[in-house]
Structure formats: structure tokens, C-alpha cells
């Protein structure tokens, strides 16, 4: 036992101290206690019994932010001028899953700062902020530690790209005309929400923007209206004049039932919030819900130690959140720049640019799925195609 652990440790030490080859770092955290328990189980190794849930809840909050594993991502690009793979680290901020709330914002920012310091110390050239880390930092970049040769990106531009692609794909699968749709965006003034608004507003008939800050809503509405878009704004979803056909939840809803009566019964809904908590089955049986902002790596993804299916818990292989993929794509491209920073700067041009970079390296929209499993459009269902099972090598060929 000791020998194998020591050997692995030795290999990891050697890799860790070759700091110059850390192209990217991914900062994340676990969304649930189940996910946290699985991470700890991998760290303990198969020869030790998994820790009981109560021990996980006692231990996790005390773990300081730190690297958890090495990550290698491959590119499908084979030109000599571009690298064919990139090496990185996954750094967990160890935000406890029950503290992903506003009440813990200062504590959580401190944890993300700690994780950022780990990335800087490891010599990462670019750092992507995943999940809640991105939300915490998008308006607080000045709170990141001093860095020298490390740049940070929220990854929000690629997230927006995959949300927009997902909406278009879902409309195509369901035979809907996006040009006739009323689009509702919840959390519209955030970085992701406003980016989606700028990309999709020109493609739909009307846009409904909802957020808590009315001043920001007015500013975004004015920006879109200047381009001739029909826009409605409301801080309360009940104030909109009509039901939406397509919805994007760019902020987690306190309760999914808040959408009831605000959207058409068979609306297409993209759950782009964090954590994702919309389910069609509970309150909206006819709604077509999918989890948005996810991409799939087709050039290969490796973790050392092996955290496949643990750090990326999706029903398809090599699916990762767009925010994290942005850092990987930029590393593969050799563009170590803060592509997404601040709030409200995501434009359709920038979305096109990151989408092209990602695609060049084989990073595409992930197959669509929701809490119940893979999503199939009416055209697919008609032919009786079965959904891929979790862990099987299903590729999203239709979206390439």
C-alpha cells in the first residue's frame, strides 16, 4: 500500500514541480455532497472504504483550496504551428456544497482567491473560473491575488456560445421557428445573461429581460432597442405581457415553479444557471428543458489520478462546462489572454471568435440532456432512436 502511494506521490511531485508546463488551471468546486464524497473516495483510493457522509461533511469545509489532479486535453488540430495537447491542473476551492449562497460570499471569494493563488504558484498560464467561482469573481477581478504571468478568464464567452448553440439546436430538433419566438432571459443583466441577449435578440421576434436590478435592465434594453429589437423588461416575471416560447435561465431560480404561467406550456427552456435546478417533469411536463452551456472535448481528456465521471458528472463522456472549456481552448490555441473579464462585455463577435477557436481544437456543443437524461427532439423520437447511456461513447455528431 505504502509503496504504491509513495510511487504515485513521487510522480505527481515531479510533474507538479515542472511548473513551466502548466498551460492552464481550472478552478472549480463540488455541487453536491455526493460529488464531494466521490472526489474524496478517489483520493482515498480503492483499497480504503469510502468515508461516511457525516465524515465528508465534517472534513470538507476544512480543506484549503488546492490542486486535486492533473488534466491533459487533446486537440484535433494537427498542424505543426499549433500544439496538439495542453497540460493543466484542476484546483478545487472546496466551497462546501451547502454554502453556495449569498450569505457565504466573502468566505467563498476568499476560497476562490486561495485557489487562484495555487494556480499562480503552479505557473499556470491561463486560469478558467468554473461554476460558482466565475459568478463570484466576474465583478470582482480586482480581488484576485497579484499575478505575474498568469491570466484569468471567467470562461463566460464560451458558455454563452454553447447556450446559444443549444437554443438553436433545440429549436431545430423541435421544429420551432426561432424567428417567431418570444425569448425570456432570467438573470439577463449578468455576464452570461446579457451575452445571450446580445447574441439571440437579433434572431427572435421579441425579448423579455428579467433581473433584480432595474437600472441595469434599462441599460441593456436601451442597447438592444438601439438595434431595433423589441424588448420588455421586468424585475417580476408576472409583469410580462405574454408567455415566452423560449427561455434561458441564466440565474438559478429560487424555485422552478416561478416559471409557471410565465412561459408557454411547451416552451423550450435552457437551464444555464448554477447549480442547475430546472426539471420538466415536476411542474412543466410539456416543457423541453435542457442544461445549457456545456461542451464536449473530442480530442481526448485525461485526469491523473482518474477523475473521469467524478469531476465531470454528465451522461456523456468528456463533457465539461463551457467556462472551464474556454481556458482549455485558449491554451490549445496558445492564446494566453484574459478572454472573458468583467461583466457585460460579451458581444456576438467575441462569441463567434471563441466558438471558432474551440471548434478548431475539437471542442463542440455537448449532446443535450437534462435531469432525466439525454434530450431527444420530436424528429429523433419519431425514428425510435434510443438515448445513449451514461458512460457510453456517444458523440454529438449532429452538432459538428
Amino acid at each position: 500500500m505504502g509503496h504504491s502511494v509513495a510511487s504515485l506521490a513521487a510522480v505527481t511531485v515531479m510533474r507538479s514541480e515542472r511548473t513551466s508546463d502548466v498551460d492552464f488551471a481550472l478552478i472549480g468546486h463540488q455541487e453536491s455532497w455526493r460529488a464531494a464524497a466521490d472526489v474524496v473516495a478517489v483520493l482515498r483510493g480503492p483499497e480504503r472504504t469510502p468515508l461516511p457522509d457525516d465524515e465528508i461533511k465534517d472534513i470538507l469545509p476544512w480543506i484549503p483550496p488546492r490542486a486535486v489532479c492533473h488534466v491533459d486535453v487533446g486537440s484535433i488540430s494537427c498542424t505543426k504551428s499549433e500544439g496538439t495537447d495542453a497540460h493543466g491542473l484542476y484546483i478545487d476551492s472546496f466551497i462546501p456544497p451547502n454554502r453556495l449562497e449569498a450569505a457565504y460570499v466573502h468566505e467563498n471569494i476568499a476560497r476562490v482567491r486561495g485557489a487562484a493563488a495555487c494556480a499562480i504558484q503552479a505557473g499556470a498560464k491561463i486560469v478558467s473560473l468554473g461554476g460558482f467561482s466565475s459568478i463570484l469573481i466576474e465583478g470582482n477581478f480586482d480581488q484576485l491575488p497579484e499575478r505575474h504571468n498568469t491570466v484569468f478568464t471567467t470562461g463566460n464567452t464560451l458558455t454563452v456560445a454553447f447556450i446559444v448553440q443549444g437554443i438553436r439546436k433545440m429549436c431545430a430538433m423541435e421544429g420551432r421557428d426561432l424567428g417567431r419566438a418570444t425569448l425570456l432571459i432570467v438573470g439577463a443583466t449578468g455576464d452570461v445573461g446579457s451575452g445571450c441577449a446580445r447574441c439571440l435578440a437579433p434572431l427572435v421576434r421579441r425579448v423579455q429581460l428579467s433581473a433584480r436590478n432595474v437600472e441595469r435592465l434599462r441599460r441593456l434594453a436601451a442597447e438592444l432597442q438601439a438595434d431595433g429589437v423589441e424588448v420588455e423588461i421586468a424585475t417580476d416575471l408576472r409583469r410580462f405581457s405574454a408567455q415566452a416560447d423560449v427561455g434561458i435561465c441564466a440565474a438559478s431560480l429560487a424555485s422552478p415553479s416561478l416559471l409557471l404561467g410565465r412561459i408557454a406550456p411547451d416552451a423550450i427552456i435552457c437551464d444555464a444557471g448554477y447549480p442547475k435546478n430546472l426539471s420538466a417533469s415536476a411542474h412543466m411536463p410539456e416543457a423541453k428543458v435542457f442544461f445549457g452551456g456545456l461542451g464536449q472535448i473530442t480530442g481526448g481528456l485525461k485526469f491523473a489520478p482518474d477523475f473521469h465521471g467524478i469531476l465531470n458528472r454528465h451522461p456523456f463522456p468528456d463533457v465539461v462546462h463551457g467556462c472551464l472549456l474556454e481556458g482549455m481552448a485558449l491554451a490549445l490555441e496558445g492564446r494566453f489572454e484574459p478572454f472573458s473579464q468583467g461583466r457585460g462585455f460579451i458581444s456576438p463577435d467575441r462569441v463567434d471568435e471563441i466558438e471558432a477557436i474551440a471548434a478548431r481544437h475539437g471542442i463542440y456543443l455537448a449532446p443535450l440532456y437534462n435531469a432525466d437524461g439525454p434530450v431527444m427532439g420530436v424528429h429523433v423520437q419519431r425514428w425510435g432512436r434510443r438515448p445513449a447511456l451514461p458512460g457510453t461513447a456517444a458523440r454529438s455528431d449532429e452538432c459538428h
Binding site: V5, A9, V13, V40, L43, L51, I59, A67, C118
Partner: protein, 252 residues
């Protein structure tokens, strides 16, 4: 070896004990035992030092730790309890044996790793937590001693960082070997429940279930101690992904 374990004066008569006094009594007993063990360790360390300055330094540390033990005993008297100690209690004895093994090998660096990185992490973290909740001078004493122990760690870090810079692999292997021995014992001490019988320090039944009565918990003391240990290893420059794995593999 001098009479390191005799730091109690005659017990003070106290007519009305606080209901939490027996809990503080056991906490003080564990702390005092740890300090006496540290004093013994530093005295042993002085015996393998070649440099007279290092000998003096180790003896000074030993006296300092003995002073801490006396301070804990005095705090016990203030609340009307007699604070016992038992450096031969099963966990503490194993920790002492691990240290003596390093002494037998005349491995100065291993001694520092055990005492300054492992045992002091535990002391600094747990005393700090106790210092925050313990009333009056009891809390102040724990907080003061935690700060003094932290100074020890700072002193040793410079020596250990320099040693690691000479041969990282060898240094990290040594830390791992010591971790398996010492931290496993500490983890058993810090477990939420004493699964393998009485610890031989608590004066009656195990104090851990009663810690909630003084706004502490065994889980909190363990968590804070392991966090301090990880941070100390970080300061040495050891890879976080490796030390995380070590800590998650400890018994609970």
C-alpha cells in the same frame, strides 16, 4: 530525564466548581500532556545536536514547553481542578516512540518534521480554537500559547525549506514516511469517537461527546488541526495535490 511530568502544585480547594470544569479539566490534561511530551522531545533533540547553539536552542524550547505545561496546570487550579497528565497514555506514547526513533537515527530533520510540522500543527490549531471559546484567563492562556507555538513553527520552517531545496524527492519521501506513522496516530486521537478504548488521559469517560457544552467539537478540532497541517506543508512547498491525498487517507 528530569521530572518533566511534575508540574502540578497542591490542588486548590474550590467550593463551587463550574458545571463545565470537568470538561476543561480534560482539555487541559490533553494539552498539558502534549506540552510535556514536547518538552521531553526537545530535551532528547538536544542530545543529538552537534552545534552548541542548536543544543541551547533545543533546551530553551524544552523549558518553554515545560512552562506551557505549568501554565495549563495553573489554569486548572484557577477553576478548581487538578490537571493530570500521562505521557505514557497509549496515543501519546506512540508519538513519543516515533520521535525517539528519529533520535535513535540521529535524524535532526526528521525530529523537526515530527515536532514542528506535525505535533505543533495540532497544538497551534487546537489551542487557537479553544482560546476562542474558553472563558477568561483560560482562553487567554490557550491563545497565548498557540501564538508562541506558531513562532516555533516559523523558526523551523527556514531550516526545513533549506533542507528540502537540497533534495526535494528525498525530503518529501521522508515526510511521507513520518506522516504514515505520526499523523495516523494523531488522526486516531482526533477521531470524533475514541473507537479503541479510553485514551488514558481523560479523567473519567471520554471528553469528546461533552465538547459541545463548551462550544467545541471533536470534528472542529480535527478539521482545524488537519487544515493547519496542510497549510504548513504548503509553506514547505510540498505539492498540494499530494498532501491532500495523504490527509484524506488518514483514519477517521
Amino acid at each position: 530525564m528530569g521530572p518533566l511530568t511534575s508540574v502540578n502544585a497542591a490542588p486548590t480547594e474550590c467550593s463551587s466548581l463550574s458545571p463545565n470544569a470537568p470538561i476543561w479539566q480534560d482539555i487541559l490534561a490533553q494539552a498539558m500532556t502534549g506540552e510535556l511530551l514536547a518538552a521531553m522531545n526537545y530535551r532528547s533533540l538536544s542530545e543529538i545536536c552537534d552545534d552548541p547553539a542548536e543544543v541551547a536552542d533545543a533546551l530553551e524550547h524544552s523549558l518553554g514547553e515545560q512552562g506551557h505545561a505549568a501554565a495549563f496546570a495553573a489554569e486548572g487550579r484557577k477553576i478548581g481542578v487538578d490537571v493530570n497528565n500521562n505521557v505514557d497514555a497509549k496515543h501519546w506514547k506512540r508519538l513519543r516512540e516515533a520521535f525517539l526513533h528519529c533520535i535513535a537515527e540521529r535524524d535532526f530533520i526528521a525530529c523537526l518534521i515530527v515536532q514542528e510540522i506535525m505535533l505543533e500543527s495540532f497544538a497551534v490549531a487546537s489551542y487557537s480554537r479553544v482560546g476562542k471559546v474558553a472563558p477568561g484567563s483560560l482562553g487567554k492562556t490557550f491563545a497565548r500559547i498557540a501564538a508562541e507555538e506558531e513562532d516555533h513553527v516559523d523558526h523551523a520552517m527556514a531550516i526545513l525549506r533549506a533542507e528540502r531545496a537540497l533534495d526535494r524527492q528525498r525530503f518529501d519521501d521522508k515526510v511521507y514516511r513520518l506522516h504514515l506513522d505520526v499523523m495516523t496516530t494523531l488522526a486516531q486521537m482526533l477521531a470524533k469517537e475514541c473507537k479503541d478504548g479510553h485514551c488514558e488521559v481523560c479523567h473519567h469517560t471520554c471528553v469528546k461527546p461533552s465538547l459541545f457544552d463548551v462550544s467545541l467539537s471533536a470534528a472542529e478540532l480535527r478539521g482545524a488541526s488537519l487544515q493547519q497541517y496542510l497549510k504548513t506543508l504548503d509553506m514547505l512547498g510540498m505539492p498540494g495535490e499530494v498532501t491532500l491525498r495523504w490527509v484524506t487517507q488518514l483514519p477517521v
